[in-house]
Symmetry: C2
Subunit: 487 residues, 2 copies
């Protein structure tokens, strides 16, 4: 089999695991979990075996040796397949198994430590996982610092220093915008009319809006889970999920808008290249740019609600008591929360800046694990002006470190930066702006299809941004957006 | 790996395909079908490769050579694994591929021919599939006739002659019972009060009843499909489906009772032996006995509705206008239909007797394909007293032959025979009868768990029936049941 055929087979295996994983989150009976884990483990082992096999290596080398360079997409696919193969085979099986086992223990210890706000109980696990992360970084190699090697897995071609420079440029202004937004919102204290907002009506409105922004229900669906997500089960099978709050219909709707942003990207990738880099999403920072664009730049805009608020009022008669301006103030409410997942658009990135700085220092050894709680609280106070009550609401709040997920929090803020930059670039076309002002998003989606989706993973994310917007990721558009909305 | 470990791995692969197949029937977006087929094909190829591998054969031989015989269950498992391996490896890959391709063409031709009631367009495909079926039968081997070798795959240890003897015993009485039931029902012309019977209320009633007869929702669920089915995605993950008719709540409910009967069997198999014969269902005739027992002997009984009709009336207020006796007459209504899938309890088996006789003659060469329509119509008239209007409502109605599914229609009637015999045997225990008369089915389920479910596939179906009821499958109990209900 050629390397391209093998890559497609790998996609069949991995997407089979996605089906099984999706069912696990949506419909799995309580008692069925053990066997489900066995199914996922079997498929993961198959995928790993294929992607690191001699047959794969040989096919890759054969394709490489015979590549004429006449087809730039083929060349790009080979380059990216080579990069993935190298990364996959640089880690010995023993290390991967050790990480998996350490992470499994750490997740249990974290859940327990978080419950009791007892960082010391989690510390030895974090220590082990940091050792393993540094070991991985050493094996993968880096030029600047260990964080580079981890970041490369989520946002290839980007350096820690480049991210730090962006974040340093954001920090002082973000802090001021957030503080002003929180003060303003607190003075107005916006609220939604009381529920219930029946779930069936929420589902109808969500589906109507998702279809209106271009999500193709012939090639996707929306189901219900505790934590919203988007997963791709095949080239024309994109599953979104959301959760429902009967007291606030915007909770499920913004879940859908965010996940539909991811879903539109997945539906826009070249389906014929499913499993090849040219048919795959390029990075987390670009993926998150799509979700944030539809969630925040479209879904929280006045033009969007000028069109959709009358529809929402038909679905939920109690909204008659709430003028559009009050509703928008509710969507733009801002408050400082110690907890990232409860943060709003105006304060979210402060959480990411904090974690990025801490992870970077932990990885390069300049911050000892024992000092993490103090460093967290100090950094938090500097950004938010207060200290979390305890470590449960502080450095123990996220599961990511316990999962060995070091190096990717940064991509959330990269996503916000990219979203604003893409939206601003698209709006340079007056036809797109005019349509968006009338809540017609077909021209915007078309522009994203051409500028981002169609390229798959053939370009590095920063180069893709350069080609689409005229510059690499930069903070201007994002700060301008936040200032316009919150100041 | 030992043969038992390999068998468990095979179960992981096959059950993964079941997850993907279940999703295909329940929630798959319309455009996603192609990739889904690729996922199922990959898993099927993996399963086939493992189950026919040298490693499997060697592990089987090693286990066999070292079997002391001290553990009868281990010995039974080895015997059945050997039987399956032999059957799987007796067919050359070329033949399996040829059948798959012929069946794929035949299904398209059948759908088209059926639409146009044009048997001649389907005939050459049926001819090919019969050739292939005979080729398979020759490779598997048989002592009596080709049908034996096919039947063995669905109902091991049973001979065509034994089935024919049962069916011959049934025929004259069945014909009389059916005619009398149809006449009686036609005189009374029972009907349900007009709908709508809201789907949400149907779902609640169905779930309540399924739970009451013992279906474990911690280890299973009910979803919606065009054709109801039951599938097992893991040792504690049994999925039922049904379909809804807003004008008749009994349609979805009896779908659920039937499929829950299959599901109770699957949930009652020894979970620790999942993937081994001792943890697997033994045959279609036993599986169908479980679904028919819960559907017809429990769900269509007066005692059942004495308890549940008041609940149904709470769900559907229009039932207040329908006395219990009228409702039961509706459940026991009988009518002659040319179409098997529309047949009721009193007339269903006549359809099976017809097909069994025709298939048997087609396979042994005494009925030419060109003569099938005439033979169908003649056989149909003999059983039902009239001739189908055309071949669409006659010999073209079922997809089974086009799928290469020759040899298993018989198991539907075997299921009915077994259901009645099991129910009669269980009721010999006065505690079970007393409980059933109060719509308490826990003792009945417990008896089925012990007598049938716990044995998995370690005994041949007829021996399992002998052990559970004191005799091999026989027609007395079934005829007594039909007479009591319909005469």
């Amino acid at each position: 089999m050629s390397i391209f055929e093998q890559a497609r087979e790998l996609a069949v295996i991995r997407s089979s695991a996605e089906v099984i994983g999706w069912d696990q989150e949506t419909y799995l009976p309580a008692a069925a979990a053990d066997h489900r884990a066995a199914q996922l483990a079997w498929l993961a082992a198959r995928a790993h075996k294929l992607a690191t096999s001699e047959a794969w290596k040989n096919a890759l080398e054969t394709a490489q040796a015979t590549d004429s360079g006449d087809d730039p997409q083929r060349t790009a696919n080979l380059r990216e397949l080579r990069r993935e193969f190298k990364r996959a085979t640089q880690l010995p099986v023993e290390l991967v198994a050790r990480e998996s086992s350490a992470s499994s223990l750490a997740k249990h210890a974290w859940a327990d430590a978080r419950q009791r706000a007892d960082f010391a109980a989690f510390a030895p696990h974090l220590e082990s996982l940091l050792d393993i992360a540094r070991e991985k970084a050493d094996l993968w190699g880096y030029t600047g610092e260990p964080y580079d090697a981890l970041l490369e897995g989520y946002e290839r071609g980007t350096s820690t220093a480049a991210v730090a420079a962006l974040f340093d440029a954001l920090r002082p202004e973000l802090r001021d915008i957030a503080a002003a937004a929180v003060a303003k919102s607190s003075a107005r204290n916006p609220a939604l009319p009381p529920g219930p907002y029946p779930i069936a009506a929420q589902q109808q409105l969500n589906a109507r809006i998702a279809a209106a922004i271009g999500f193709d229900f012939q090639a996707g669906r929306i189901d219900t889970t505790t934590h919203p997500f988007c997963t791709t089960l095949g080239p024309r099978d994109v599953r979104l999920t959301t959760r429902y709050d009967e007291n606030d219909f915007t909770s499920s709707l913004f879940g859908v808008l965010h996940e539909a942003g991811h879903g539109l990207y997945e539906q826009g990738l070249p389906g014929a290249d499913f499993g090849l880099p040219s048919g795959s999403a390029v990075s987390l920072g670009i993926h998150e740019s799509q979700s944030r664009l539809w969630e925040n730049h479209v879904g929280r805009s006045r033009a969007f609600w000028h069109c959709w608020y009358p529809v929402a009022r038909e679905c939920f008669p109690q909204l008659a008591a709430c003028p559009l301006d009050d509703f928008l103030a509710y969507l733009w409410r801002a408050a400082f929360s110690p907890v990232r997942v409860e943060a709003d658009e105006a304060t979210y990135d402060l959480h990411i800046l904090l974690r990025f700085g801490l992870e970077r220092r932990m990885l390069n050894g300049s911050l000892a694990v024992a000092d993490v709680p103090a460093a967290w609280n100090e950094g938090f106070r500097d950004l938010f002006g207060f200290t979390p009550e305890n470590d449960r609401l502080g450095c123990l709040q996220d599961i990511h470190w316990a999962m060995g997920g070091l190096g990717y929090f940064a991509t959330y803020t990269l996503g916000n930066i990219n979203a604003a930059q893409l939206c601003a670039a698209a709006r340079k076309d007056p036809a797109i702006t005019t349509a968006m002002d009338q809540a017609d998003y077909a021209p915007l989606l078309n522009w994203l299809r051409t500028s981002i989706h169609a390229h798959g993973a053939t370009l590095d994310p920063a180069d893709l941004m350069q080609q689409a917007t005229g510059s690499k990721p930069a903070t201007q558009a994002y700060l301008a957006h936040l200032k316009a909305r919150y100041l």
